[in-house]
Symmetry: C2
Subunit: 232 residues, 2 copies
């Protein structure tokens, strides 16, 4: 489903009065992920995990290297095709949630369905089901600033799942959740992976959370230093 | 240092066309925290931890109940006095970081010192030291959107420590940090507590992090259900 080859990402930063400095953040990252896999990505703060996830989620382009998603070279897709992939096939849980502040939780979760052309009534019903699944059934009319950190995180998770994506990219989805709530969320991911064959790539800092996956990839200073299957 | 008695917090939410609904989020929270203590607060997502922290940090007012900080009744302080307390005596690490997006990391960290009347040169020097302590010495000129989640979190931590506060309120300061970086940050907190007697109240979801504290308070549905000292 996912094949990346020698992905590199370099940022240019303004430095001082005249210069720019280049900061390389990913070095020759190569990976293949098959449909139905459940992969955990770990690594130190700043090691490049979110940068890699943004590339996998077609939210950013690499400085060099190739990325084939479902057999298609992502670099060759038009902006319109990319938007369609992101909307129909991908669910992305952002490390910083990225909720729309002026909408309720329900409308935040319904948004991807509306973009996909689903009716308003059906979008809101499906969004309510997803909020129920993440324990937020009673909070659908709350706005993000009325929700706790972990509740906002769960709205972001519900939104990523609402259009039944084939691929879920979750960037530290349990960072703001207590152990019990984390277990419930990981149960949802595990069920989607086992029962529906949905492919999951999940960044986490916690070994307990990584243990739900069947494969572990470790990044260090922008390079893959470990990539192997684990018994689960 | 901190004494709260029967703190309650009720939010009013607009519900439907005409009504408002009241949602009680803290029920009769009573606690005393002495100078030099290191207290961990745990509880499920939505149990009221951040709400309590905002009350302790003088960022919000309770619906009922009393709060004495260093012997002074917080409800009787003027806005000016509250601002002075927050600036000189308190360091707050927000769950959502709350960094200023258009400033560099260095200027974000220096801001509390500038407000306290410290010279620009000295503020920036002190800010640089704090960034060094949280492993961000090379990132002082980066803006928040150029930093990883865990790097932003550490800028927020540095900012909370920069004016040598007597009381640090840290709301899930390691949620976005890997185990090694978390250990470094907790080492900084432990040192401040042991060597300088700084009082620390820290919200966390992780038992390993709570283990650094000498006392554990547990919230459930807005009530204190556990409050006891632990060996550390
Ligand atoms: N402005 C508000 N209006 C209405 N309800 C609110 C508001 N702010 C917070 N709440 C509610 O108060 C409850 C407690 O929120 P709080 O942020 O204190 O939880 P928390 O324990 O910090 O959770 P987490 O671990 O997820 O960060 C939540 O159920 C939340 O929905
Ligand atoms: N726009 C940018 N310009 C310059 N550098 C950037 C930019 N975005 C990210 N970086 C740098 O890229 C590096 C990797 O960032 P990334 O967000 O991928 O880390 P991460 O592994 O997700 O870390 P964390 O666990 O803290 O979330 C960091 O050192 C960061 O400072
Ligand atoms: Mg990240
Ligand atoms: Mg909170």
């Amino acid at each position: 489903l996912i094949r990346v080859e020698r992905l590199c990402k370099i940022y240019s930063l303004e430095s001082g009065v005249n210069g720019t400095v280049n900061s390389q953040v990913l070095y020759d990252v190569s990976l293949s992920i098959n449909r139905g896999e459940f992969v955990a990505i770990m690594g130190h703060s700043g090691s490049g995990k979110s940068t890699l996830m943004n590339l996998l989620g077609c939210l950013d382009t690499p400085t060099s290297g190739h990325y084939w998603l479902a057999g298609r070279d992502v670099a060759s897709l038009s902006e319109k095709e990319l938007a369609s992939v992101r909307n129909h096939n991908l669910g992305f849980v952002f490390q910083g949630f990225n909720l729309l502040k002026r909408m309720t939780a329900l409308d935040n979760v319904a948004t991807p369905l509306l973009y996909a052309g689903v009716s308003r009534a059906e979008s809101r019903q499906r969004a309510q089901e997803l909020l129920q699944q993440t324990g937020l059934g009673k909070f659908s009319e709350y706005q993000p600033n009325q929700l706790s950190g972990g509740q906002q995180q769960r709205v972001a998770i519900s939104r990523a799942l609402v259009n039944n994506p084939q691929l879920i990219l979750a960037d530290e989805p349990t960072g703001n959740l207590d152990t019990q709530t984390s277990g419930e969320i990981m149960g949802v991911f595990k069920r989607l992976n086992r029962e529906k064959g949905i492919t999951i790539v999940l960044v986490t800092h916690e070994d307990d959370i990584a243990a739900y996956a069947s494969r572990l990839v470790r990044l260090k200073d922008g390079r893959v230093i470990h990539d192997s299957k684990v018994d689960s």
